[in-house]
């Protein structure tokens, strides 16, 4: 404190100006590189995405032609996109439900400090460390028509199970693998939320004769409110951009039935060289994601308020 108070007394205005301009330069050197790179490679691209979505860019030409809203009009009656949107919403909805039910359920099961619980948490979490690409290839080697499980089934005289070769099965398999690979993160997040639930409240309820289920429903769950919101929004946002796993698990098949929107965006852009159209799709995906995250947060907040009233 004395330092800051004494400093102005000893420095004359002339001496002060010099370090100040030098300080200005040093500050610029510290901030500018990050800022410039961030603008060039993150902010400019976002603007470019909007611009490119109004052009017919093929990825090669230097000045793509402006086509107005044509890409957006086209994507409204694109049957492929409609199907992909349906798959994506299904994956996001069912996946979010699975991730959060398992996440919260297992968080309650492995809550508390013990060696066994630490081990359980590690095992539940580990698939998140692997790339989605590897997870997909691994599960397709296990569940494919000639995969490990079907080998076992046929040796025992059963019929081949179409985990990945039937559209409905493949979609369910994909959701299951996404949940398998991801719910460990939700466990850890819910565990963090559980530490914030006041222990005295739970004890008081127990003393008043509440059953375990009643304590969970009336004390723990309401106190976990914000945690639930974070987990749901996070799962939704992550699942809406599912891409790597589609590539490796099903390659979009059978017959394109498990293509997600993200898969279609990259396919249209880099396989069909329609980057303008792909941009329009990605802008749409971004808007839908933002809108859904907003709606969920809003609904959850209203629910939380209702609990407190």
């Amino acid at each position: 404190m004395t330092l800051t108070r004494e400093a102005p007394l000893v420095t004359t205005p002339v001496v002060r100006r010099k370090p100040r301009t030098r300080d200005g330069w040093v500050t610029a050197i510290m901030v500018a590189p990050a800022t410039v790179l961030y603008i060039v490679m993150l902010i400019v691209p976002v603007g470019l995405a909007l611009y490119l979505s109004l052009t017919d860019w093929d990825g090669f030409s230097a000045n793509p032609a402006f086509v107005g809203a044509a890409n957006y009009v086209n994507l409204l009656d694109d049957p492929e996109l409609r199907r992909a949107a349906l798959v994506t919403l299904l994956v996001a909805a069912a996946g979010t439900a699975g991730l959060n039910l398992l996440g919260l359920g297992f968080a309650l099961l492995v809550n508390g400090v013990s060696r066994a619980n630490t081990f359980f948490r590690i095992v539940l979490f580990y698939p998140h460390v692997l790339s989605a690409l590897v997870v997909g290839f691994l599960w397709s080697a296990i569940l494919g028509t000639t995969g490990a499980v079907n080998n076992l089934v046929t040796t025992w005289g059963g019929e081949v199970l179409p985990f990945l070769s039937d559209p409905t099965w493949a979609t369910i398999t994909m959701i299951a693998v996404l949940v398998w690979a991801g719910f460990g993160v939700n466990v850890v997040l819910y565990l963090a939320g559980l530490q914030a639930v006041p222990h005295s409240l739970i004890e008081a309820a127990r003393i008043d004769g509440a059953t375990r289920l009643q304590v969970f429903r009336n004390v723990t769950l309401p106190a976990l409110g914000p945690s639930v919101t974070v987990n749901i929004v996070l799962s939704l946002v992550t699942l809406l951009k599912t891409y790597d796993l589609v590539v490796s698990l099903t390659a979009g098949g059978p017959a394109g039935q498990t293509q997600t929107v993200a898969y279609l965006i990259l396919w249209n852009s880099f396989h069909d060289a329609r980057l303008g159209f792909g941009s329009a799709q990605s802008v749409l995906l971004m808007l839908v994601t933002a809108a859904l995250a907003f709606v969920v947060t809003r609904l959850r907040r209203r629910g939380e308020l209702a609990v407190h009233q």
């Binding site: 330092l3 300080d23 040093v26 500050t27 510290m30 901030v31 590189p33 990050a34 790179l37 961030y38 490679m41 993150l42 902010i43 400019v44 691209p45 470019l48 995405a49 297992f106 099961l109 066994a116 081990f119 359980f120 590690i122 095992v123 539940l124 580990y126 698939p127 998140h128 460390v129 692997l130 790339s131 989605a132 690409l133 590897v134 290839f137 691994l138 397709s140 080697a141 296990i142 490990a148 080998n151 993160v185 850890v188 997040l189 996070l234 946002v237 992550t238 951009k241 891409y243 790597d244 590539v247 490796s248 390659a251 965006i265 990259l266 880099f270 941009s279 990605s282 995906l285 933002a290």
Partner: protein
């Protein structure tokens, strides 16, 4: 009830890893005949995967490691000083700059892939290591700056003032006094960036492209496995080689990795 159920879940989580590991040491016939058994183990498939002309795993490790190290170094060198200025300055413009960076954490990668190709082409960096490393680094900046600025705010400013009184300039004050204290925050970011760069598939696939001949572990796995997905003597050893370093790293550092990756999961 609780314990048996948890152990059953553990089995369900680990069986894929078990299948991957044992079958990496079998030939096709043994895999098809008995995918869960331990019979007929051989090192030959693993050896072939190591010398696969489609994908040189050792080179893949080297390339990926080079990317991981460069992105981490560049990210710290760019983000830490910027975060320091933002955290220490009371000026309005730096608070606005913080919000500006924070906005970047909300931009989904999917939206960026296509226009970044345009930007990199314009700059002549498309298909180059420099372009890829720069883009991956930029992706780490928003969250790094957010995390570092929050951490620096907890470092007492008296330290800076003491250094200034002793005649240290701003740069020196930062790198010699404040930066060494940021170790936990930097460690979290390094873990996060290491996994996101190592596991990234879309960006190296598109920015580096097959034409460059540069494969990371993920794009290499894709090149080696996707066309031969029923030749299990290729699939299992390649996948095992791809995940082994990460799993070893995870086992030794699990506490830090879980907290680091969880911090990253909530950044969006």
């Amino acid at each position: 009830m609780r314990k048996p159920f948890l152990w059953a879940t553990v089995a369900f989580m680990l069986i894929p890893l078990y299948v991957l590991t044992v079958n990496a040491f079998k030939d096709q016939q043994d895999i098809l005949a008995n995918p869960f058994g331990l019979g007929g183990l051989t090192l030959e498939p693993l050896g072939r995967a190591l010398t696969n002309p489609q994908f040189n795993v050792v080179k893949g490790y080297a390339v990926t490691l080079l990317f991981v190290v460069s992105v981490n170094l560049l990210s710290v060198v760019l983000a830490a000083p910027a975060a320091y200025v933002i955290a220490r300055s009371p000026k309005r413009r730096f608070r606005v700059l913080m919000l500006f960076f924070l906005a970047g954490t909300f931009i989904p990668g999917q939206v960026l892939v296509i226009p970044v190709v345009y930007v990199l082409k314009t700059l002549g960096l498309m298909g180059t290591i420099r372009g890829f490393v720069l883009f991956e680094t930029v992706l780490t900046l928003p969250f790094s700056i957010f995390l570092y600025a929050g951490y620096i705010a907890t470092v007492p400013a008296v330290l800076d003032q003491a250094a200034a009184v002793d005649g240290a300039g701003r740069l020196r004050t930062f790198w010699q006094i404040v930066f060494p204290l940021m170790r936990p925050a930097v460690a979290t970011m390094v873990i996060l960036n290491t996994f996101s760069v190592w596991n990234d598939f879309v960006n190296p696939q598109i920015i580096l492209g097959p034409g460059s001949g540069l494969y990371t572990v993920t794009t290499g796995v894709y090149a080696a496995v996707s066309q031969y997905s029923t030749d299990y003597t290729v699939v299992f050893p390649t996948l095992l080689l791809a995940i082994a370093p990460l799993l070893v790293f995870f086992v030794f550092m699990q506490r830090h990795i879980i907290s680091g990756l969880t911090a990253g999961a909530t950044k969006g």
